[in-house]
Amino acid sequence: MSSWLHAELRLRLGSFELHLDLAPKGRALGIFGASGSGKSTLLELLAGWRRGTGQRIRLGDRTLEDASTFIPPEQRRMGFVPQDLCLFPHLTVRENLAFGAGNTDQAREIERIAEVLELSSFLGRKPHALSGGQRQRVALGRALASGPEVLLLDEPLSSLDTALRRKLLPFLMAVRLQFDLPLILVSHDALEIEALCDEVIVLDKGRATSRGEPAQILAAEAAGHPNLLTGIVQEQTPGGAAVEVQGGAHFYVASPDLIVGTRVLFTLGSEDLLLAQAPLAGLSARTALPVQVTRVEQHGGLLLAEVSCAGPGAPKVRVRVTPGAVQELNLVVGENLMLYAKSTAARPL
């Protein structure tokens, strides 16, 4: 199996022991875990900020660390954005960005980064004069400007409030899209991982407890984990903004400030959704979509039905149901149903 990264991370710190093997299948790997699970330590091990105890790291065809090798941080080409950001307080935003950009090619790259991350209007300011979201973007831009082979992101959004998070998430997605860098994202926030990663490892006390596709794993890990969907705003209607997801289905999101033509991420709580056997009339729900049941499963005390919207590449949505409903609606895989949601159940990020 070929992967851009092969890492056997090993660290013993007092009673804490980290023991984790990484070989990401996709381009973006999420590490999900509560605080104290060793998430941040893991990134520091990868970046070479700490020395592991008998670990091996290979990035592409370069050996970064093994029994006889320790490549120092300056030669690892890891674009690290730690949770505390580590912006240089004595330098302006421009100087921070240019810090790791040695040659002129990268100088031109800085222009592009500043543009993508919308930093151009405050390049002359110092970090203490920036808002939290601006600082996040500067740290991200600085990591990108150093020409890294990998991005390491430690809780890039979870320290921010919802409004800021909503502003910043598109930047991260744009970074994924435009810079096409392999990514490791560490977070205790399931949404963040689901929005950005195509694989997730759940870390607990330094060990992986499960790994796989984010939506599935995280639904199992985080009780009440909402559905995460993305699409393009089509039009503003009195009942909410119509957002077209992949496959052509329209979801209505009650948010008057969404701009037509932009991409939006929104959540749908699994308990806020309705399933019906036949189309209903006279309902206050704005979103009404034909769906097909793809799975019914039990997570803890919860019964979840996974349904798929129509169309190629259409997203899947989990709906919380009761055992009675399973019987009444004949919830078996392959069954065609209608999905209903109020536009207020869809919350944009």
């Binding site: 900020w49 730690p82 307080p89 790791g100 939290g132």
Partner: protein, 494 residues
């Protein structure tokens, strides 16, 4: 178990015990003020006095001029033994001595010495003195008797002009001998009495008594005494035939002559000294700047080591670094003298009584003052910032220079200022190692001491004023740098 509290209690009990601060189990005897070169005379006298059943003498040793000034200032003493007739005349003219007590009691001569084993093979010729590049260690020819006697002798044989420019100033007769003993000078002029007692020098030439004015020692009984009658009896003991033994053991010849003449304490009258402020200030600034050059990088490296590295023996190293802060500067000077002297590990560099020697002494003494603020400043910079700089592609040294150094700049600046200030005021270690040579090693602090010795109050005031101004500027600037607000945090959490 022996607890810390028990230890404190025991310590307290010991210190509070009667007589804890006196010599063990002894009441206090008469006080005798003795010129450094006459110490052995006083010790012999003490033995005689105790043989008669007297309490041991309290002997205080200093330069003759200093002793006289103490008496002028009102200090009580039962007997004063001075190597400087002029100061004894001064005391008598101020009516501080009991009538008729002032007596010349001994005389001695000068000699030329060389370090043991380093004496030239030929028989001595006076032309050797001051020949070549060699320095001649000699105390002030104005303030200290040895300097005055040596000058008169050299003048009488026509060598003073040749020698004058070669003189390296030392504080007193003992220091002149010590300089030769340590091998810092190939030759010296010292008291014959001192030279005879030294194992480390060879006497090349004894100056005939008819060639040089006799070196005379005088005694006097201060009116303000501590034990009535003791002074009179001590004087009798010294002037009796038995006392001659003490005098001879000090390398002097007994003599008995009433003190005569008028006080003439050299150019000690205020305001008659040419100002030395210019060269002294220049030397001080040169020393201070050179100390900064010498100490900056080692201090920064040490500060970094203590701030950023955890290693075995770190606390021991830390204590060693701070030692010069607590150790008396004279102790540091003495250790340096051992290291730099002939046969010492650094003896081959020939740094004694030179400007580089002064810089070295100042550098050692002020090192901890460089290190402390630098270390605090480095500890104040988040090491993660340096890690980040490295992840962005900078090597360890460049990361340090472009992140940690600028962020710690104010504290490092404060360290430089404090260390420089300490170097400016340094006296004890420097005077032992580098002497006090005008235009080369005589700094402000040494000039103040010199002015005090010469009774030059106007000069001292001028120097102290300049020192005060410099000190204020430095402390003020260091404080401004040190108390500056730390940089705002760089984290992402608003």
């Amino acid at each position: 178990m022996f607890s810390f509290l028990q230890f404190l209690a025991l310590l307290g009990a010991t210190l509070c015990a009667p007589g804890a601060f006196a010599s063990p189990g002894v009441a206090q005897g008469p006080r005798v003020l003795v010129a450094s070169s006459l110490r052995e005379v006083a010790q012999g006298l003490d033995a005689q006095w105790q043989a008669e059943g007297g309490e041991p003498l309290v002997i205080s040793t200093a330069a003759s001029g200093d002793l006289a000034r103490q008496v002028i200032a009102g200090a009580r003493a039962d007997l004063i033994l001075s190597a400087d007739i002029r100061w004894m005349l001064e005391l008598r003219s101020r009516d501080l001595l009991t009538d008729g007590s002032a007596t010349v009691f001994a005389q001695g001569g000068l000699c030329v010495v060389a370090p043991k084993g380093a004496a030239p093979g030929d028989s001595f010729r006076v032309e050797w003195i001051g020949a070549g590049e060699a320095r001649l260690p000699l105390p002030s020819s104005e303030a200290v008797p040895l300097g005055r006697y040596a000058k008169r002798w050299l003048e009488s044989i026509g060598r003073w002009q040749a020698v004058e420019g070669r003189i390296t100033g030392v504080p007193d007769a003992r220091a002149a001998l010590a300089a030769v003993e340590a091998g810092a000078a190939p030759m010296g002029i010292v008291y014959l009495a001192d030279a005879r007692r030294s194992d480390s020098v060879e006497i090349l030439y004894s100056v005939p008594l008819d060639q040089a004015p006799a070196v005379e020692a005088a005694l006097g009984l201060p009116k303000r005494n501590t034990v009535d009658g003791a002074g009179t009896r001590l004087r009798e003991l010294l002037l009796l035939p038995a006392g001659a033994h003490s005098i001879r053991s000090a390398g002097l010849e007994p003599l008995q002559r009433p003190l005569s003449g008028e006080p003439d304490t050299g150019g000690a009258a205020p305001g008659t000294h040419p100002s030395v402020l210019g060269p002294v200030l220049w030397v001080s600034i040169k020393v201070a700047l050179a100390v900064v050059l010498l100490d900056f990088f080692p201090a920064l490296a040490m500060a970094w080591l203590l701030a950023r590295r955890r290693f075995w023996g770190r606390s021991v190293l830390e204590a060693l670094v701070h030692l010069p802060l607590i150790l008396p500067p004279t102790a540091v000077g003495w250790l340096l003298l051992l290291a730099l002297g002939k046969g010492g590990p650094l003896g081959s560099f020939d740094l004694l009584l030179t400007f580089p020697g002064a810089v070295l002494a100042g550098g050692v003494v002020s090192f901890p003052l460089f290190v402390r603020p630098m270390r605090a400043a480095l500890e104040g910079v988040d090491p993660r910032l340096e890690s980040m700089a490295r992840s962005l592609g900078l090597g360890p040294l460049r990361a340090f220079c472009s992140v940690t150094l600028p962020l710690a700049a104010r504290g490092i600046g404060a360290g430089v200022l404090l260390g420089m200030g300490r170097a400016l005021g340094e006296f004890g270690a420097t005077v032992l190692v580098a002497g006090s040579l005008l235009g080369e090693t005589r700094t402000l602090s040494m000039a103040v001491f010199e002015a005090y010795q010469l009774h030059d109050d106007r000069g001292a005031l001028q120097l102290v004023g300049v020192c005060g101004l410099l000190a204020f500027v430095i402390v003020f600037a260091a404080d401004r740098l040190g108390s500056a607000k730390p940089s705002p945090p760089s984290g992402g959490t608003p």
